[in-house]
Amino acid sequence: EAGVAQSPRYKIIEKRQSVAFWCNPISGHATLYWYQQILGQGPKLLIQFQNNGVVDDSQLPKDRFSAERLKGVDSTLKIQPAKLEDSAVYLCASSPDRVLDEQFFGPGTRLTVL
């Protein structure tokens, strides 16, 4: 079974630029998550989708972050404009159902904002 795919793996941008990350979850998984992991900390949930609907985005900084999951499969996370404190690894995860399942994580995208 193919795992969660993410691209790019690394991205370096200047502050105030915009950036987008892509995620392809495990086939058949209804739920998709985006996490932000700052160096030395645990992952923090940004947004959770069930199929193509948003379940929870309470921790997403909506003034600069946006995410979508068209057709209930792939998802993109965008930051516009980026700040220095956005430097982190952005992890995408999926699970078969939203009801308290284990989650399967992708390799992440390491973002550096200069």
Binding site: Y33, G42, P43, V55, Q59, L91, F105, G108
Partner: protein, 110 residues
């Protein structure tokens, strides 16, 4: 806010020794999960223990859960250099969001 907090933050042991990591959480839970993260394989689910379970085993892993103390422990027996990684506990909060602790960084020296 973090649901789980791991202790210790860092642990260094020799190969063959056992490693014990503890996790405390704040609110009632349905289940508690442990994940491992290393540079090679990313973040990987290790084991899930439900609130009505007290102990669970998986290979060299043993997890305990004490809901009265809101705490869990992860024991890795006969550790190997390949076990070097960060270990996170995670639990769902009231809003069904999986929240992670800050992790325990384990170093197993050959």
């Amino acid at each position: 806010s973090q649901q789980g907090e791991e202790d210790p933050q860092a642990l260094s042991i020799q190969e063959g020794e056992n490693a014990t990591m503890n996790c405390s959480y704040k609110t009632s839970i349905n289940n508690l999960q442990w994940y491992r993260q290393n540079s090679g394989r990313g973040l990987v689910h290790l084991i899930l223990i439900r609130s009505n379970e007290r102990e669970k085993h998986s290979g060299r892993l043993r997890v305990t859960l004490d809901t009265s103390k809101k705490s869990s422990s992860l024991l890795i027996t006969a550790s190997r250099a390949a076990d070097t990684a960060s270990y996170f506990c995670a639990a769902y909060n009231a809003g069904n969001m999986l929240t992670f602790g800050g992790g325990t960084r384990l170093m197993v020296k050959p």
